[in-house]
């Protein structure tokens, strides 16, 4: 009789999802950090828009991490 791999497969999916979204969150934090640093170095008209976009991106990645953890 073959062992049931379904539960292992689901566990593997979950681990992949959490690790993947976690790494992505780190990347989003790096973007925010770099954008704030660069906007201090170079001041241009669209800096505000770029900063807002980087924070939206961070917020979305945070939601994705929460989703991968909490989602039943």
């Amino acid at each position: 009789m073959l062992p049931d791999f379904t539960s292992y497969f689901i566990l593997l999916e979950r681990i992949f999802a959490i690790v993947g979204t976690g790494l992505y969150l780190i990347f989003a934090i790096v973007i925010v950090k770099q954008v704030s640093m660069m906007t201090k170095n170079v001041y241009d008209k669209f800096n505000g828009v770029v900063i807002i976009f980087s924070y939206i991106h961070l917020l979305l990645s945070l939601l994705l991490v929460l989703m991968s953890i909490v989602w039943p």
């Binding site: 999916e13 992505y24 669209f46």
Partner: protein
């Protein structure tokens, strides 16, 4: 501290005693409006202003704030800028260089629609399918944002004193290079390929006598104008050196 009048006999840091109630004679005060030097300075300033106007005539004017070729931008500043330093030209890589990543982004957006036809995909639970698609869209957003930021913060600046190259590649690699205009030795440009010829953009290489031997403005619009302006700026700098107005 009062400065000594006879600078040949007094050391620069010596303090000179001034008696109280000492009245300065009227003839000792130089009237700037009648001074001959002032008149000469005024004419030199007018000459330099006319020269600077010639440079702006060559460059034309900017029509869009997100343009890759910003002439005398009013809003733009950078940290290393001196108070008296005037920004003449700010450049970014030509807009056409963005086409490849924009097309790639559209292709990436279409991937979740195409992936449904792969048999392995249907074996994954619906929950993780949704999460996977959302994750993919986030990767697409990150790719687009990173590509845009690499373009937006890849800035080349020509001021009245120096040329500056600020680069921001792959989010983790920041580069700042500058060379004084008086240090520029040779300037060359290269327009290669169909797109560069069609849209008139290319590389401008600036050889310097400074610590950084070469500064390269990559894929900038109107390289011929950039070369012309750098040539004029060098002439202006030489004239300033002759006039003894080097900052």
């Amino acid at each position: 501290m009062t400065r000594a009048k006879d600078l040949d006999t007094v050391a620069p840091d010596d303090v000179v005693e001034v008696k109280k109630n000492q009245v300065i004679k009227k003839s000792e005060i130089i009237n700037p409006t009648t001074s001959k030097d002032f008149g000469e300075a005024k004419s030199v300033d007018a000459k330099m202003a006319a020269f600077r106007q010639k440079i702006y005539d060559v460059l034309g004017h900017t029509s869009h704030p997100l343009s890759s070729f910003l002439v005398k931008p009013h809003v733009f500043t950078f940290t290393e800028q001196d108070q008296e330093e005037e920004i003449i030209l700010v450049m970014r890589p030509h807009w056409f260089t963005n086409v490849s990543w924009v097309l790639t982004t559209f292709f990436m957006l279409a991937v979740p629609t195409l992936i449904r036809f792969i048999p392995v995909w249907t074996g994954i639970s619906l929950k993780y399918q949704t999460l996977g698609i959302l994750f993919w869209y986030m990767i697409t957003l990150a790719f687009a944002l990173e590509s845009f930021l690499s373009w937006y913060f890849d800035v080349y600046i020509i001021t009245d004193e120096r040329v500056i190259d600020i680069e921001f590649k792959n989010l983790l690699d920041k580069k700042f290079a500058e060379a004084k205009i008086s240090m520029i030795q040779d300037v060359s440009s290269r327009v290669a390929g169909v797109s560069q010829t069609m849209f008139n953009y290319g590389d401008v290489r600036i050889q310097t006598a400074a610590e950084i031997p070469e500064i390269c403005f990559e894929r900038v619009p109107n390289p011929d104008k950039v070369i012309k302006v750098l040539q004029m700026m060098r002439q202006e700098e030489e004239q300033e050196a002759i006039d003894g107005r080097v900052r």
